[in-house]
């Protein structure tokens, strides 16, 4: 009987673990920030939503986007959409992405947003994050956070100046006008997430 119950609950938890898609309600989570405090999507009072960005210390694509991520936060946090940066990488697979190095990086770049550590990688899996950086924009609907945009920040990782399609900003501007982002999904190249074995 015990074995049957165990198998059943395993199957249930497996089936519950399909990743979020556009329109999904995202379950609350709380991860350790670089200041030691636990932070979730709701960290800014009166927010209209949140810009979740899976990113890390070592990936050249993440590094190339750091200033643009800071700029997104500075522009959209006052409008109700702050950035929440999440490092999803396993430290054994990627020592440069340790919690201690997160603290250093955030200080160097003076990140104005929380930079939290997804140590178990459960949040990255729930979102279906595949690379760094990977952007998920959520809109608050009553008490739920609903996924509205998945993808890239703009169309040129290498050069902010040459980027002429600002996907994330377009998505946020649409959401601020109570419209749905179009496109709602954009792909980009990035570093693979370092999943633990």
């Amino acid at each position: 009987m015990k074995k049957v119950l165990l198998l059943f609950s395993c199957l249930l938890s497996l089936s519950a673990f399909s990743q979020y898609t556009i329109g999904s309600k995202v379950a609350a989570f709380s991860l350790k920030n670089i200041d030691g405090k636990m932070v979730g999507m709701n960290y800014q009072e009166n927010a209209k939503g949140v810009i979740v960005i899976f990113t890390c210390n070592h990936c050249p694509f993440s590094i190339a986007y750091e200033d643009r991520i800071i700029a997104l936060h500075e522009k959209y946090a006052p409008l109700g959409y702050p950035v929440l940066a999440i490092n999803p990488n396993n430290v054994l697979k990627s020592p440069d992405d340790s919690y201690e190095k997160m603290i250093e990086r955030a200080a160097e770049k003076k990140f104005p947003f929380p930079y939290v550590y997804d140590e178990t990688q459960e949040v990255a899996k729930a979102f279906g994050a595949k690379r760094t950086p990977h952007v998920f924009i959520l809109k608050k609907q009553k008490t739920d956070f609903v996924l509205k945009y998945i993808g890239a920040i703009d169309n040129n990782s290498e050069s902010a100046e040459k980027a002429n399609a600002k996907y994330a900003e377009d998505a946020l501007n649409a959401l601020l006008k109570n419209k749905d982002p179009e496109p709602s999904e954009v792909k980009a190249i990035g570093c693979t997430i370092k999943w633990k074995d």
Partner: protein, 135 residues
């Protein structure tokens, strides 16, 4: 190494006359990519002349080709065919490689007479590549 757009690369793939084409997407800064390259080189060497080819497609920034990619190629004496994609907006071609691909590298696509039979958005190794080409 040939620098070209994805549209041009598609034409190169269409012109491939061999049996198995193994396309590996990589970058010099991508550690798991670099770690698996010897396995691809081994397959390319072992099956050269038997209708199997490995093509490495580099995704370093355009500005990094001279200073990072070329030295890497020389240092590692890469023998497989080399390409570099110049498109700056990969959203235009990622889905063309495979709709399931989230854009993370390394990634490997294997084609049998032009039809994609495998797509791995992850690392691979000699044994898995060997099993895929059934020679």
């Amino acid at each position: 190494m040939k620098s070209l757009s994805y549209a041009q690369f598609e034409k190169e793939m269409a012109a491939f006359e061999g049996e198995y084409l193994i396309v590996n997407y990589w970058a010099t800064w991508c550690r798991p990519c670099v770690e698996e390259m010897p396995d691809f080189e081994k397959i390319n060497a072992e099956f050269s002349g038997q209708g199997v080819s490995v093509w490495f497609v580099n995704l370093d920034f355009n500005s990094a080709v001279e200073k990072s990619v070329m030295p890497f190629i020389r240092k590692n004496n890469l023998q497989s065919k080399l390409f570099h994609l110049t498109d700056t907006d990969p959203n235009t071609w990622i889905d063309k490689v495979n709709k399931e691909w989230g854009g993370n590298i390394p990634a490997t696509a294997i084609y049998l007479k032009g039809n994609q039979i495998h797509f791995w958005a992850r690392s691979t190794n000699y044994d898995e590549l060997r099993a895929a080409i059934r020679k």
